[in-house]
């Protein structure tokens, strides 16, 4: 009997425990819609990256193989055939470089926009690591003979290394420093200038 009355009083008093205010329906709905839209954009970008990544890896491997093969003097053809091989090599590198730069631009643009909007930076580390490997391959390739492109690749290597090393719970300061580096070295501007214009994978303009 005493226990029953105690529990009754307990339940009454407990109704005031963390008493919620009116539900902020509209505000939460707006934030839910924004979060879902951001997720959809991210999925599209990631899917595009996966496609580009696979294509880029194949083209880069092909380009490097052709380059090494021709540089090693394995060609036995006539001078004109050798010139043709050199053209093909250059073309392969240009295709690989164009795809790499486009993909890197997408990552860095996404990183800047999302992190400035307060989104976590952790989602970009895997792609940055992947692109970092490609950057090092590019630096070892004939593409880096162009001093302008080499300087850009070196800056990209630094920025991608910073993003790749961001811990999952990285604080705003780490992210801010990376964004400052991007701005101070005008990395995105130089990157966009270096990407050839036009719709196809091999284009006539830009640094390449």
């Amino acid at each position: 009997m005493m226990d029953d009355r105690f529990e009754e009083r307990l339940r009454d008093a407990a109704r005031d425990y963390h008493r919620p205010p009116a539900t902020p329906r509209e505000e939460m709905w707006r934030r839910i819609e924004a979060a879902r839209a951001a997720r959809r954009r991210r999925v599209i970008v990631v899917r595009r990256w996966v496609g580009w990544g696979a294509g880029l890896a194949a083209v880069l491997a092909l380009g490097i193989a052709i380059g090494r093969w021709t540089a090693g003097g394995h060609g036995t053809g006539t001078p004109s055939a050798a010139a043709g091989d050199a053209d093909q090599t250059t073309l392969a590198y240009r295709v690989a470089a164009a795809q790499y730069l486009t993909r890197t631009e997408a990552l860095l643009t996404g990183f800047r926009v999302e992190t400035r909007g307060g989104e976590p930076a952790g989602q970009f580390t895997a792609q940055a690591r992947d692109l970092l490997g490609t950057t090092r391959l590019m630096l070892d390739s004939p593409a880096a003979r162009d001093p302008r492109l080499k300087s850009l690749l070196e800056d990209l290597e630094l920025v991608l290394a910073q993003i790749a090393q961001l811990p999952s719970g990285s604080d705003r300061e780490d992210v801010q420093l990376t964004n400052q580096g991007l701005d101070q070295r005008s990395v995105l501007l130089r990157l966009r200038t270096a990407i050839p214009a036009g719709p196809g994978p091999v284009r006539a303009q830009g640094a390449l």
């Binding site: 407990a14 919620p20 939460m28």
Partner: protein, 180 residues
Amino acid sequence: MDERELIARVRAGDGAAERALYDAHVDRVYRLAYRLAGDDELAREFTQDTFVRAFERLGAFRGEAKLSTWLHAIATSVVLNGLRKVQRLRRHETDLTDAAALPAGGRRAEPDLKRRLARAIDDLPDGYRTVFVMHDVEGYTHEEIGGALGIESGTSKAQLSRARARLRETLADFAGEWVS
């Protein structure tokens, strides 16, 4: 519109149906999140996360349970996991605060019964507190609690009983006053 039709329309990408589903359940989800979190910003965050996940996973909802049960299973998982993370972050801070402001002890130090009760509920183990808040504070049935937490309704009853016993013990010095 019945629940099955609503779900079908949400799956087909009907924005109005998404909003209708949200409107039908948001109050209960937000109230529960607030009761468990005790913080408006966290409660909003948990509620939003619950609905974002629910809309993402609705395609996998087989209709074996009621939609509200399924939704509350997501909500309790989001809230309890979120609170664990928050508690880990706050633990150090809280330890320092508690050490600096240790109560003198006894009722005189905490004359406010409701505050003392709130503290006692906060101090319950997570499982007991969740069941107590859902049942005694928010009025969920043991079947609903079982469905949301993935436990038998008998387990929910047992945990509620233990939670009440723990509170009775903690608030023993108030018991006589309350009963009289």
